[in-house]
Each structure stands twice: as structure tokens, then as C-alpha cells.
Symmetry: D2
Subunit: 335 residues, 4 copies
């Protein structure tokens, strides 16, 4: 990788510029935006960053052989396709695209072009989420039984996606990161309180072959902001509270187990409620780790954690969930 | 009403005895339990309370023309039927029975016998729930948009009911109490992690003609205990936290409204985030108010809030939810 | 010990009766109160408990060779003295008396009479406080640097003691229990907002030879109830929140240490902020453990934890603190 | 005012640059720092800002007729004096100086020079603190009875000030802002756990003619961060929790009042515990409001809220508190 051009200088673009300036090892960073106002703001924020007034102009400069797309979801597919065709490595905002078919087309194109295709699922680079994955993989939780997430707040209505594609997308990336298992089927319900507006409240339930059940509760219309994920194993359980700066992860030495086969028949369970432990989470910004992963993939050929394939797995669930919403909660198979 | 006999002296029975001693205005109170150990305990706890070793023996004493059934759900129908046939007023633990058909049979029998049939949905007598209903009826919240309840803890597995019939039953009584509207349809998913055991995690979503959506999240296997109900209107929203002894109700002066028709088309919403207000909740035990309501109904012929009809409405939803669980989330009509 | 008579049947008396019925191993329990109304209540609550209408009448019954005084502080000295002189073992509500001189007189009298003299400092029997002491004694905290307690709420004004003698007395018993060291000197400030009423806000600071500093903040006029004790060592620190039923104790793997002698000169410190750990606290009521300790002392001659000597150490600090209040915060020596 | 030069580009300097760029209405902003490294960082952060490598060089440029000192406390007096003598308006970090005598010398010099002298007590510009003052002034709290602040965390040891001058200075500015009354006397205790290091734990109690009592608890060695201020009036009480982003202020409709004169004699009080109300706090950065106040004072001749006189009042209390620490808590008069 020689240089990277961040496309779209709205809410997320400036964060990408800042992090790639730090992660790129001195390689040049550029900004592309069709709005002169936003481009002027980029120049004021980062005087040493080159700017382009159009995507084609950016693609005309061979210095920048990588692009990061921080543009609306509906533009992800055409812009990423064009960039891959022009030989660029591509990092694209989450979700990768708004359909599984287009996601697969990009994955195949990237493979043919031998270029990196990566999705900005920032949460899988969060130190707290990484810590939870380490605990899961070390067997500390035992067999995963359920994951139950609540991600609600008084949020801005999005124009081109609903609350599932805006918020549940985060939880699905975390769930897919924590377990290698993929769901068999999804059931979802969502509601729009304003005619013609995207759904602002949604619930997704995933069923797995192992017996794991995942439930997601998303809302843009809650007066309180909650970011809770419960991860229950038969040995221990975790509460991940993203808003608790001091103790984001609590590990409960609690579980339930039938004591003997006979007990199981008589349904007597032993509840262990023990110590609670809140591991120290190392510092470090998730987006910095993500940028470093992209640079490494584009320079050394490694596979990024949040690959195109990883992003497509998330979109597969979202697409099926959306179908289930249309069927009023009827389960949709993911086979 | 001349006197009341509490049937079943396990966890709930002693609370009923204590509250009916206070509410009955000096009328005699008795206890009936087939376990000699439990009956001895009742005598030790309440030396002045008469005891019966069998249900038939209790029915043989005409002093006690009312019974309160604090027995397993599977016994509700036969015991309540027998008591009504013998001319007793009946208070029955929640849920009224485990099927809508048997609930209706009891309601009709009570009407023919001109006796009170009431269900112990304690929550609808809670001062906090009453306060919320007063705010809803005064129009403080505007039109109800959603109710979202989380009722999870590390609970005892029940033998004859699953988590929906054990926990969601509380939320359904609260929801039906807060709004006169009844749901059009229900979608539900539930999971049992132990083969042959009742489901220990469950989710219910209700759809209403007005656009209201209700979602319930119940679990016996959460390491943390949460009792949150969010009630969202287009003018204000409420968070009811049953575990916050100091501020159980918070009223958020928040809402979202399209500002004009044109805004609505462009999906621009105005978010109001204003003051938060925590009304003082009057003291008083819910069960005392419930006992008083039963005594009043049995002596003055008034209609109790938590009537047999009210209890049947709850069972109608539970039964449909259970059917939806069998259909893996497919919506089941309640028409 | 043959039997115990609880003297005073107000707020605390019934709790003592219940716990001594459980702890006394079948030995008889009696109640003494000069108020006929309270005595009638005692008979209703505990039909099998003997009652006495006056202290002298109780002392006339040789069955009860132990008394527990749950009476106002001003009565502690005369009643305890009379009981010891009559050959009784004595448990007295905290504080032991309202002066160090009278406390010492009781201690000497008990020694001469070879009877138990014990003070009801319930907190030193709390499982959470016992757990903290175990951690301190195991060296987990390193050297104790500070203890900082906040014990505030909207409380009832007491008639015969001020907020220091009512609330700080708890903290002083905990502090003296956690460390064998006794303070060199005390500085205190307290305020009464109503002329002639006891002080309702008070602050105490204790200075120790080891460098330990203890600070207590007590109030009857706080709108929020707080029961926080911070215990800081140079290796770890503890937050004890008596109102957190789930995690009353949090152990912070935090400390501060100068890294080298040179660093110390330049005042550079290394802050370790590590894991947080919340040990499971065993169940069990503190008052039950206290009652058992008293019965054991009176039957087997063991030394109770909360002995008369222990109670006098607390009064010594309170008396000096009161003197410092009169001197507007000037330090009073405890040598 | 023509332009402002920020002196010292460490932790606070960059914030001042950013806020004065926004508040100065296009007037030029400069940075002065003797460290070439820090000056280079300033140029990178703000390419359009002029830089000076020494204070004298800065004073040599007549464009900048105002200076903001973000330098160690020990430098405040000489730098502010030099700047005022050269005809500059001066904003100085809190505390104004480390002695009342030097503070008064600066105030008199500023008056003679007809220049603004202002202290950066940021908290008195916080929207939450302003809201509390509005409630106090509107009489909502009734007569102020107590203010009780806890400001503790695991903080960096300062080199040239102790915890009172570093943390209590904030509380004293808030207290002096909320009430026009000034304390009669101060009692303080503070402890240094490392020989030769500044005190890291401190407690201050202030006594007022009106009966108001103020207590401050400051620590750099607490494992938990707490920023609580309780403000108690005889009609209502406030809890200001600076760390609660959603509800920083809670107003408790609680109070205590003797019901009649006779009640007062018998010490019977009526406790009102009513609704809790959390007013919406307007947004806006405190430092922006402070910068605007300085610019207004320097251009229009208005009196800033956080004037030199206001800063001297804070130092008067700190100086007396330090004296009381030396006297081990003995009260020091502020008359």
C-alpha cells in the first residue's frame, strides 16, 4: 500500500483520517468529498492532507492505492466495485452492502483483483470485546447458552437504513466474532411508527444448532441509553456494559447445572452465585487497531479480522431478519 | 363474605394469611394444606388461625365462604371449580389456569353461581404501576408507541410452568392494565437448555391495531437481576425500574415528532430531550390492596380490578405465545 | 446461662427476641417493658415468651441470668450496673454508655462479678465486614493508609444523642475492628441547625502513629442515603457499599508507589489500576452471629468480639470527638 | 482587546487556544512556550496561530494585548504582574496565586492599570452549576443549611500544590458562587503518605454566620472517582453528580422542619420526602462561556464573574485552611 484516500468527510471520515495518519507509517493520506464545504473543513482540520473533489479524480491519482469508504450504505456497492476494478484495496463502512448478492460480488471481485476487501466493524477491535473473546476461547464461560443484547437510545433516524441495519449490525458483528458458529435461522419483528419511515424499533432472535440462542433489542426511541450484552455460559456469565467506563466487563461466577441425571429428571438445579470479577481492559482506540489491521493486510497480505467474508456473514443475517420482519416474525432459514 | 380459607401454605400462602388477617375486618381466616409439616408451621406462625388438613374438610366448614388458592398452576382449575360449585368466592394465584378454555369455564361458572372469581395479579395493585396508569390516562405520555420489558434474574426453575407463564405473566397483566387495547397478534420464541425442562429464556412481541408494539424479555438464567419496563409515548416516556427503591418511576420529557408534513416526507424529526421527573410513589403493600379489593367484591358485589375476565385476557396471550413458540416465532392471531 | 430477658421492646427489642430464640438452644427468653402497650405487642408477636412489667420484676426471676438492654443510651449505665450487681450477664445496645468513666466502671464491675459484659456493635458481626477484616489481615491491602466513611440519610432526629453518637459509632466500631491500632488524636466538627436540638451533621478525623488517617462523614439530613466506606492500602483498596446487595465489597487492584528513591524525590508515582474483584459474601444475619457470640461467652467463658473493652474504646473516641466539637475542630489527644 | 496570547502549552493550553479561537471574533490568537517540542506541537495543532518562544518575546508584540496563563501555580504571580505592568489584560489559571498577599497585589495593579484580571475558575461557568445557582437564588431550596462535597479519584500527584489547592479550589469556587456569604472560619486536616510529598488527602470544614456548614473531602488516592456535591436547604435539597451525564442535578423535594414551637422543644420533626426532579441542563462548554466572559470584559469593560476579587476570596480560604492543617484542625478565623 502506498497511500489511502478517505472518501466521504461527514461524521466518520475525520476519525478515519486521524487514525490512518497515525497507522500508515508516513504513507500519504487523502480526502475525497463532492461537497466543497466539507472539503474545506478537511483542509482546515488536516492541512497536510491532499483533497479530491470527486471520486474519479481520486482514482486518477495512482499514489492512493487504497480507499476507505465513509459514505451512505446505498453507495457502498458501486463505489467499492469501481475502486476494486481500478486496483485499489478497499475498506468500507459497515454494513458491507445492503444485500448478500452484492456483498458476494465484491468478495469475488477482490479475490480476482488480489486486493484487500475489509469492512469497518469497529466493535470487533474494541479491547473489551477482545477480552470477552479471550475468555470465551479459554473456556472460562463453558458452553455458550445465550447472548442477549440491548442497544437502545434516543437516536437520529437514518434515511437509507432502518434500526436493524444501523444498530443490530454492531451486535451481529460481535456475536459472529465471539463464536465461530453461524445461526441456523432468524426470527425478527420491527416497527415503524411513522408511515414511510424506516423501522425504529426491532427485535431479532437467532437459533443455533448447539442450542445457543441470541436475542437483540434495538431502538432509536428510548429515553435512556442502554448498551448491555449478556453472554451466558453454563459455567460463567458476562455482562458487558459498553457505557461503564470503569468496569465494562463483569464476569459472574454463576451457572446452573443439574446435579445428577436423577436431579435432571426431577428438574432440580444447583445455582452457583459466586464472586464477581471485573478484568482490567487495556487502553487503546478500536479504530486505531482496525486501521493497523487494514494497513497490515494491504502491505503484508494478511487476512484482516473484519474481512469481506466476515461482513457478508453479518449481511446474510440482516437480510434474513428483514425477510422475517416482512413475514411478521416467521423464522427464516439461513442454511 | 364470612371468612376466608387460604389453600396452600408454601411461599405465597403466609403472605395471603397475613394480608387477609389485616383486610378482613375481623372475619375469620383459615389455612388448608395437606402437608402436616406446613400445617404445623402455619399454626406456629398464626396461633389464632383455624387449620384444615384437606381441601374437602375446608369446604365442609360453612364459616369459610371464600377461598384463596396458593397452589401449583395445574391445580387451579379443579380446585377453583370445586370451590365455586360449593358456593365459595374464589381468589386464585396467577395465572388463572393453564388454558383459555378452562379459564372461560370458571368465569361462566362464577357468573352462574353469582360468586367472585378473582386472580392474584399483584402487580396491578402496586402503587408504582397505579401511578403509571394515572399518567397514561391523564394523557401525559401522548399516544402509546411501545412497551419494552426486561424481567431477568437467576431464578428457580419451575416444575409445571415455563419462564413465560412464570415471568411474562406479570408483564402481560401490567400491559393489559395500562391500556384497554388488546393485541391483534403475538410472536414468541423460547428456549430450554436442558432436555425435557421447561423453557428458561423467552421473548414475546405483541402487535396492536393502534401501532403499539410490546416486547417482553424473560429469563431465569441471567447473572444480574433486571426489572425494567420502558413505556414510550409520542409526548413522554417512562422508565419503571422495580428494583430502584428510591426512584422506581422516571418520566422523561422526551419524544420525537415530525415537525411538518414536509419534514415527515424528508424524515426529519424533532427530538425533545427535557427534564426528568421522578414522582413520589405512595407507600402501601400491593397485596394488601388486592386483599381489600377481594373483600370488597365479596361483600359489596363490586367488580375487582383483577377479575376472572382480566386473568383470562392474560392467559389468551400466553396461550397464543406458546403456540407461536411451537411455530418458531410465526405470528399467531388473537382475533 | 439459663435464660435471657430482653429489656425494652421498641425498634430493636423484637429483633433481639427473634435472634435469641434461635441462638439460645432452647433456653427461655423473656421480655421486659414498662409500657403495657408494648408488652401486649410482645405477647402477640411471641406467645411463648414470658413478660415482665418492670426491670425489678425481671431481676426477681432467677431463671433469667442474662439481660439484653435495648433501651435509650441514658439508661445504659444504671440498668447495666444494677443487672451486673444482681449477677446477670449483660448485653447492652451501642454505645455502651455515654462516657468513658461509666464504661470503665461497668467493665470493672463485670470483672469483679465474673460476668459477661458485651456491647451490641452489630456491624462487627456482618459477613461483609468480616470479609474485609480477613483481607486486611491476609495483607491483601498492604499497609492501611486511610479509611473514609460516608454514612448519611434522611434520618430520625434522636432525642438523647447526636448524629456522632448515633451514626459515627458504627464506623468507629468497624474501624477499631479492622485495625488493632488506636488513634493518637481526634478532630471533629458538628452542627445543629435547630437551636437546642442535637447536632445533625458531623465530621470526625482520626490521626494514627502509623500514618493512617480515618475520616467519617455523618448526617441525618441528606436526601440520598449513602453507606460508603473506602479502605485504602498501599497495595489494594476496597469500596464497601452497604447498600449494594449484589456486590457490597469491591477490591481494587490499585495502588500508588514511588518507583525508586530517586523517583520519590522527584515525586513521580506509578499508578496501578487493575482488575476489580467482588468477593462472594456468605449469607447469615449479623445479629444472629452476635447473639451466638453472647451465648457462647455466657456459657463457655469465651471473650466476645464486641466486649465491654471494645465498646469502651469506641466511647473513648466519641468522647474526645465531642470535646473537639466544643473546641471547633481543635485536635484532642487520645493518649 | 486586539489579540490574546496563551502562555504554556501543556494540558490546559490547547483547550484555551481552541476556545479563544472560537470566542475572539476573529481576533488573532498566539501561543507562547519555552519548550521547542511543545511549540512545535502547537504549530501542528493550529497552523494559523502565531508562536513565541519566550514570554518576553510575546510581550514585545503589541498585537497581543491580552494573555492567558496556563503555567504552574508558582509562576502565576510573577508572570501576571509582568503582563499587567506591560498593559495586558490577564486571565490566570486557578488558583490566582498561592497567597492572599500576592493576589491582592495583582488586583490592585490591575485596577491601577485599568486592565482585566480574571481567574480561570471554569466550574462557575458550567451550565449545571449555573442551574443550581438559579434554583438557590429563586428560593427553591429555602435557607441553605449545608454543602457537602466529595471530590476524589486516583489522580496525578502535583509537584507544586497539594490536594487542597488542586481539588478543593474547585469546590470553594462553586461554594462562593452559590452563596454571597463568606465563611467566618475554617478547620482543615490533610495528610501526606509519602515523606516530603504534598498532602494527597484533605478535609475542609467551613463555618458561617447564618449557620451554613460546608464540608469538602478531597483525595488523589481513591480507587473510585466520585464528584458529588450535596446542597441542603430547609425546603429542598440538591445532589449534583458531575459524572452523571444524563441527570447531573437531582432536586429532592425533601426537607425537615419542626412543626410547631412546641414540637421544636420536644424535637419532633416533619420529614417531607417527595418527588425528585432532574432539570434539563442546557448544553455548551464551560470554557467557551469563560472565554466569552473574558473577551467581553476586555472589550466592553464589564466585570467578569470569575474576577481577580473572586479568585482572591478562594485563596483566602485555602490559605486559612492550610494554616489550620498546620494546627491539626484548629479553627482559623477568616474575619
Amino acid at each position: 500500500m502506498n497511500g489511502i484516500c478517505i472518501v466521504g468527510y461527514g461524521y466518520w471520515g475525520p476519525k478515519l483520517v486521524r487514525n490512518f495518519l497515525a497507522a500508515s507509517g508516513g504513507r500519504p493520506v487523502a480526502v475525497c468529498d463532492e461537497s466543497p464545504v466539507r472539503l474545506a473543513r478537511a483542509r482546515a482540520d488536516f492541512p497536510n492532507v491532499k483533497t479530491f473533489a470527486s471520486f474519479e479524480e481520486a482514482l486518477g491519482d495512482p499514489t492512493f492505492d487504497a480507499v476507505a469508504l465513509a459514505t451512505p450504505v446505498s453507495t457502498h456497492f458501486p463505489l467499492a466495485k469501481r475502486a476494486l476494478e481500478s486496483g485499489r484495496h478497499v475498506l468500507v463502512e459497515k454494513p458491507i452492502t445492503h444485500s448478500l448478492a452484492t456483498a458476494h460480488e465484491l468478495i469475488e471481485l477482490a479475490a480476482r483483483q488480489r486486493r484487500v476487501l475489509m469492512v469497518d466493524h469497529t466493535f470487533v477491535y474494541h479491547p473489551a470485546v477482545r477480552k470477552i473473546k479471550a475468555l470465551v476461547e479459554a473456556g472460562d464461560l463453558g458452553q455458550l447458552r445465550y447472548i442477549d443484547s440491548t442497544r437502545i437510545n434516543l437516536g437520529l433516524f437514518q434515511h437509507d437504513v432502518n434500526v436493524l441495519w444501523d444498530l443490530a449490525v454492531h451486535d451481529l458483528s460481535i456475536v459472529n466474532f465471539l463464536t465461530a458458529e453461524r445461526p441456523l435461522a432468524v426470527s425478527a419483528v420491527a416497527t415503524a411508527h411513522t408511515p414511510g419511515a424506516p423501522e425504529n424499533i426491532g427485535f431479532i432472535t437467532l437459533r443455533y444448532a448447539s442450542g445457543l440462542v441470541v436475542h437483540l433489542n434495538c431502538s432509536w426511541v428510548s429515553p435512556v441509553k442502554i448498551r448491555h450484552i449478556l453472554i451466558g455460559g453454563d459455567k460463567r456469565m458476562i455482562l458487558y456494559n459498553d457505557l461503564d467506563a470503569n468496569e465494562p466487563i463483569k464476569v459472574y461466577d454463576s451457572g446452573y447445572q443439574a446435579r445428577t441425571d436423577e436431579d435432571r429428571n426431577r428438574l432440580l438445579f444447583d445455582y452457583r452465585v459466586g464472586d464477581v470479577y471485573s478484568p482490567k481492559i487495556p487502553g487503546g482506540e478500536a479504530l486505531a487497531a482496525l486501521a493497523a489491521d487494514f494497513v497490515r493486510a494491504a502491505t503484508e497480505g494478511t487476512e484482516p479480522v473484519s474481512s469481506g467474508r466476515f461482513g457478508a456473514d453479518v449481511v446474510a443475517i440482516l437480510e434474513a431478519a428483514q425477510r422475517s420482519v416482512g413475514l411478521r416474525g416467521q423464522e427464516v432459514s439461513l442454511a
